[in-house]
Amino acid sequence: MKKTYKIEVDCANCANKMEDAAKRTEGVKNATVNFMTLKMSVEFEDGQDIKAVMQKVRTNCKKVEDDCEIFI
């Protein structure tokens, strides 16, 4: 299961950090953040509640980069 979300972030390094944070989130198989198109695509592990996982992804991203937003 793969989904793409629109994000808002100001700097490229912050985007890289968000990518790391998303990858480390439980239930996420893989994640890429595209700074140029401002999109995050997340591949979920099987049988995960996508909404709950995305909430965690958002919290984790906010921890590394306070000034970011993910439009879930």
Binding site: D10, C11, A12, N13, N16, T32, M36, S41
Partner: protein, 627 residues
């Protein structure tokens, strides 16, 4: 400008004005400090908050932290000496200007590039009770009849059921000549209707249409990261902490050494100042933003030229291409059979073609189709009687009460007719009328007009070897290769042999030199995916090719291959320029800072100036017209 950017611009201007005013205000000591604190907080409050939050979340080493420590440190030094506060504020100010510029430039190029790729149709027209109604293309079902007016984009793939027009395909193919379209022909979404009203019966859903597929592909392209991008994000991860610890060492070690070992005064202020300079220089943002921006611009520019690149990594590999392997048919040649020449004809060429076309009119073989096309006029089938088809030989038919025999050499031998052999390569159709030889027609696959120029362009683009693979006979293959100037030919290959040949080539070259395979996407998907880079050409509408290839040329002009390589070279050159330039300047400034030669002003240039220059340089990758 976004709201955020406007607010930032206001803060920047306000700070600059305050700084000028304060410069002329005759105050001293504490009051001066408090007054200077105002512009400092105006420009830097968000950075300070961010740095604080970063520390709280154990994300110490980010840019905000560096800037906060550096400027707070500089302020503290200034307080201690009752000296110059401007430096700390200026550092913060320039840092913010840099950030503002970066966000403005990136936002701007993001919009520019998106506009280049703007082929997304906003609506589809459906006729309802004689009125046109605009609906979301997503809601149109397969088989619906949509109306496309002049000037509108075709929203969904389909077949024209009424009307004729010319289409502008440049958004898809980069080809500027309009394409004529008639009733019954297939059209692909994303083209712009130029002249007439078209009624189109859709054959696909919007999500499956060409335009959606292409948009999807291009938008996701920069998510596949190149090695350079990976290198930079790894570099940034190591670099920032490293500089922080070095700064810490620079602040404490030299003074301690001076006191304890050399017996000199510690000069704390001096060394702390150097350490702070270090921190200012250290931000990795120039690198981190300019590399993906270069790739994004390169991919955007390429797609504008009709070259779809599926990822930054492929752009990188393409730039290292030294071997280009072609599939002959459909790539270097048209893949359609055409009458090329008529020899030894006793009748006028036109007449001979007419007889041949009539005699072969019952056959559906591609050869007879090409005869009919070359003749070009409608055939009166009533003129033909008694068609006898001799399998593997040809046909004998009565046309206008003449006995026409049309076929290969075997047929002529069978009929015991003296025929003349042809030295041309291709399929030969001999003709005999009432038992006498009347000449032969040469039918062959024709070479694309730009094929020769394309091979030459590849050579000048630095490709070492061009290879052609074909299932065709050796004679045909050699002739084509000679005409085009191709280095190596492998002929009479079955589709699976092509994979083996490419694998052999892959093994024989050094891993740094990349091999690209160019095919037309028809039954060469396995080879496309096996090569370092698979290039599919003329693939409009062919889903399999778009899936299998790494790079898709929207039209079938082989010149685009060298163009694609040149685009990738330019993009990678810019990427390396930026990497070396940014790292180089930073290292030099770090050294100067450590020895106390560089002050904070130079440090701010090393940070902001380099970033601005790198971003401007990255945007150059967008311009690919002249390549």
């Amino acid at each position: 400008m976004s709201k955020k950017q406007k607010k930032m611009l206001f803060r920047i201007l306000l700070t600059a004005v305050l700084m000028v005013l304060l410069h002329f205000l005759p105050v001293a000591k504490l009051l001066r400090f408090l007054l200077y604190l105002i512009p400092y907080l105006v420009i830097g409050y968000d950075i300070l908050i961010k740095a604080f939050k970063g520390v709280k979340n154990r994300q110490m080493f980010d840019e905000s932290f560096l800037m906060a420590v550096a400027t707070v440190g500089a302020m503290a030094l200034a307080v201690a000496k009752d000296g110059d506060y401007t430096e700390a504020i200026a550092v913060m100010l320039f840092y913010q200007i840099g950030e503002w510029f970066q966000s403005y430039a990136v936002g701007k190029s993001r919009r520019n590039i998106s506009e280049l790729m703007d082929i997304r149709p906003d609506y589809a027209n459906i006729e309802k009770d004689g009125q046109l109604e605009q609906v979301d293309p997503d809601e149109v079902e397969i088989g619906t009849i949509i109306v496309v007016q002049p000037g509108e984009k075709i929203p969904i793939d389909g077949i024209v059921i009424n009307g004729h027009s010319s289409l502008n395909t440049s958004a898809l193919t980069g080809e500027s000549l309009p394409r004529e379209i008639q009733t019954g022909e297939e059209v692909i979404s994303g083209c712009i209707n130029l002249t007439g009203i078209l009624k189109i019966q859709t054959t696909k859903e919007f999500g499956e249409s060409t335009v959606s597929k292409i948009l999807d592909l291009v938008e996701n392209a920069s998510s596949r990261k190149s090695k350079s991008e990976d290198f930079i994000s790894k570099f940034a991860r190591v670099y920032t902490p490293l500089v922080c610890y070095s700064a810490l060492a620079l602040a404490f070690l030299p003074p301690l050494v001076r006191i304890s070992l050399l017996g000199l005064s510690a000069d704390w202020g001096d060394w702390v100042y150097r350490a702070l300079t270090f921190l200012v220089i250290s931000c990795p943002c120039a690198l981190v933003v300019s590399i993906p921006l270069s790739f994004f611009a390169g991919i955007g520019g390429a797609s504008n030229a009709g070259v779809l690149v599926k990822g930054s990594n492929y752009l990188e590999t393409l730039s290292q291409t030294r071997y280009v392997v072609f599939d002959k048919t459909g790539t270097l040649t048209q893949g359609v059979f055409q009458v090329n020449a008529i020899h030894h004809n006793t009748l006028p060429e036109e007449k001979l073609l007419e007889y041949a076309a009539l005699a072969e009119s019952a056959s559906s073989h591609p050869i007879s189709k090409s005869l009919r096309e070359a003749y070009g006029k409608p055939l009166e089938r009533s003129r033909i009687t008694d068609i006898e088809e001799i399998s593997g030989n040809g046909v004998i038919a009565q046309v206008d009460n003449l006995c026409i025999a049309a076929g290969n050499a075997k047929l002529m031998k069978r009929l015991k007719i003296d025929y003349k052999d042809c030295h041309h390569t291709g399929t030969i159709v001999h003709l005999a009328i009432d038992g006498t030889y009347a000449g032969h027609i040469v039918i062959s696959d024709i070479i694309k007009p730009h094929a020769k120029g394309a091979i030459a362009a590849l050579k000048s683009a630095g490709v070492h070897q061009t290879v052609m693979l074909t299932g065709d006979t050796d004679a045909v293959a050699k002739q084509v290769a000679k005409e085009l100037g191709i280095d190596v030919v492998y002929s009479e290959l079955l589709p699976e042999d092509k994979v083996t040949k490419v694998e052999e080539l892959l093994e024989s070259k050094s891993p740094k030199e990349k091999l690209a395979f160019v095919g037309d996407g028809i039954n060469d998907a396995p080879v496309l995916s096996r090569a370092d880079i698979g290039i599919a050409m003329g693939a409009m509408g062919s889903d399999a090719a778009i899936e299998a290839a790494d790079i898709v040329l929207m039209d079938d002009d082989p010149l685009k291959i060298s163009k694609a390589i040149n685009i990738s070279r330019k993009c990678l050159r810019i990427v390396y320029e930026n990497i070396w330039f940014a790292i180089g300047i930073k290292v030099i400034c770090l050294l100067l800072g450590a020895f106390g030669i560089a002050n904070m002003w130079l440090a701010v240039f090393a940070d902001v100036g380099v970033m601005v220059l790198a971003v401007l340089n990255a945007i150059r990758a967008l311009f690919v017209k002249k390549l």
